[in-house]
């Protein structure tokens, strides 16, 4: 076992991104785990319950009024109709919690990234580690939510299991993009941008009703938004609908992931290696 810091870092000379990447994002994950172990679990649990509460109140409350919904796959209850959208939303929320406010704090107040980048770690290690942590949270929320809807009898096929990888892709996209935007934010004031953007996106992305209620131009705008893409990806995965459409959704998230990673790394480098 090599234990010498210098040898370890010289081993990477000539390899991929040697100036920006030490190949150790897992140590950033480990750091978050150490901190999380002794932190307030309640905040984590409450993030999970939010979509569950929506499901129960809207699905069974409003569901009582609207009755069954007819879909290409047959009639389903209103609760089953909104479940994929809420699942996508829960993956988004989980990812955004860690990649926005928590990252902002580490960037600006706790000087944590500064300490990390004074070691032989590089900015891409930090970006990947933080994004992986955020997406794990999104993935865990989504898995738990899938278990809840299965328990409530709202899924009808094994395709529903695909909701989990779909939700992880969604969480990855949001974590990556969220961290990139956060790294450019200068004040708490600016951070409120996320709330201003996320709530309307949640209400209008068609988690609760079909998009066809809107005029064509509004539909086009909504379809370009990441939550709408997430809802479509999860819905299609859960119903086993594979075609060009789901490929578009998938590509949308791959682009979001790459763009987010690129800008986060570049920004961290500019902030801490100036």
């Amino acid at each position: 076992m090599r234990s010498n810091a210098v040898e370890l870092s010289e081993g990477r000379i000539g390899k991929f991104g040697e100036k920006y990447y030490a190949g150790r994002p897992q140590q950033v994950l480990l750091r978050n785990w150490l901190s999380f172990k002794s932190s307030a679990w309640i905040a984590v649990v409450s993030g999970f319950f939010e979509p569950v509460l929506y499901l129960l109140s809207f699905g069974y409350g409003i569901g009582e009024l609207v009755g069954n919904i007819s879909t290409p796959g047959g009639d389903i209850s209103y609760a089953a109709y909104i479940a994929p959208g809420l699942l996508a939303t829960s993956a988004m929320n989980g990812a955004m919690l860690d990649s926005t406010w928590n990252v902002f704090f580490k960037l600006n107040e706790s000087r944590l990234y500064k300490a990390m980048l004074a070691t032989s770690l590089g900015p891409l290690d930090v970006a990947l580690g933080e994004i992986a942590w955020a997406l794990m949270r999104g993935g865990i929320y989504a898995t738990a939510f899938t278990a809840v809807i299965a328990g409530l009898g709202l899924v009808t096929s094994w395709w529903a299991l695909l909701a989990i990888p779909a939700a992880i892709i969604v969480a990855f996209g949001f974590a990556s993009f969220g961290m990139a935007i956060t790294s450019f934010m200068k004040s708490h004031h600016q951070m409120n941008f996320f709330e201003i953007f996320l709530l309307p996106m949640f209400l209008f992305s068609g988690a609760f009703y079909p998009l066809t209620v809107f005029p064509g131009w509004a539909q086009a705008i909504i379809k370009a938004l990441p939550l709408r893409q997430a809802i479509e990806l999860v819905t299609r995965a859960m119903s086993g609908e594979f075609g060009i459409n789901i490929l578009v959704n998938f590509t949308y998230f791959m682009v979001m992931i790459c763009v987010g990673l690129f800008f986060t790394t570049r920004r961290l480098n500019a902030l801490f290696m100036k």
Partner: protein
């Protein structure tokens, strides 16, 4: 001549139009304890960050262990232990977790780090606090932990940016003692400070910096010899009379400096000078004879005090 670990030539850093480090040259040899002495804003931290490969120089050349930090940042950082001016410990973790994860950032194995932790805790005198969250530590303890943490990777060069600023005298002395031990073990130390006593105690050789430039470079003793007299007589007449006494006193001393609250008279023999003054019928309110220090060197070089 022993091996040179750091070689800087014409090192310059500008922020916009502002020149923070202005073309400085210096060498640091292996095992040496090298100081940067200067007031706030002299450019000490900027120089440290450039050496630490977390800031990119604007011009000049710099090699650290034969490598350029601009090209081999991570490799150079692997050689360094960094104690920044502002502590950046992980407040959400405990004392030993802080050391542990820092070692992991360097890629060191858990078993290696776990073997090192007791030794580092003992060095930092924090054995009893090992499971305490960092938030709850005193300023002096945090500083010692930052140093202990920086040693986990067994660095060749330890960089300390104002290691004792903001600490009470007792905490400072404990820290100096720890740094002495490292020096004895042959660790190369880079220390910035605006305390002349710290520079005198810890540095084999130092550069005096002001406004991004080097004003002088040598051992503390040689600097004092070159730029000051052996002793200093400090006299006070009360702020309104200080100025009028200057003309009377000037011919008696080798050199004279007037500070807002006192007059400094430079002489080889301070006691003898005081006798001369009293023989003339001049009686200061208070008088004090002391050895010359780096503070006097700085005053001579820049006309200003180190600590405003």
């Amino acid at each position: 001549m022993s091996e040179k670990l750091i070689v800087a030539r014409g090192l310059t850093k500008t922020y916009g139009d502002f020149i923070a480090v202005d073309g400085i040259d210096f060498d640091v040899a292996k095992g040496e304890s090298f100081g940067f002495l200067g007031p706030n804003g002299a450019g000490k931290s900027t120089t440290m960050r450039i050496i630490g490969a977390t800031s990119v120089r604007t011009s000049g050349t710099l090699t650290i262990l034969g490598k350029d930090p601009e090209v081999h940042g991570p490799q150079i950082r692997a050689h360094l232990g960094v104690v920044p001016q502002q502590d950046n410990l992980d407040n959400e973790l405990t004392v030993s977790e802080n050391i542990f994860i820092y070692g992991r950032y360097f890629g060191l194995s858990s078993s290696f780090i776990n073997r090192k932790i007791p030794e580092l805790l003992e060095f930092a005198q924090l054995e009893e606090k090992k499971d305490t969250k960092v938030e709850a530590l005193s300023g002096g303890m945090k500083r010692r932990l930052t140093i202990a943490r920086s040693l986990v990777s067994e660095p060749d060069i330890l960089m300390l940016d104002e290691p004792t600023t903001g600490l009470d005298p007792q905490a400072r002395h404990i820290l100096w003692d720890r740094l002495f031990r490292l020096k004895e073990q042959g660790v190369t130390l880079l220390i910035t400070t605006h305390y002349m006593d710290e520079a005198e105690q810890l540095c084999d050789r130092l550069i005096v910096m002001d406004k991004g430039k080097i004003m002088a470079e040598d051992s503390p003793a040689q600097l004092i010899k070159d730029y000051s007299t052996k002793e200093v007589l400090e006299v006070r007449f009360g702020s309104d009379r200080n100025q009028e006494m200057v003309d009377v006193l000037r011919p008696l001393a080798d050199r004279i400096e007037v500070l807002p609250d006192r007059i400094l008279l430079y002489a080889t023999d301070g006691e003898q000078l005081l006798e001369q003054i009293t023989a003339k019928g001049i009686h200061p309110n208070t008088s004090l004879v002391r050895r010359s220090s780096l503070e006097d060197v700085f005053l001579r070089l820049t006309g200003r005090s180190l600590v405003e």
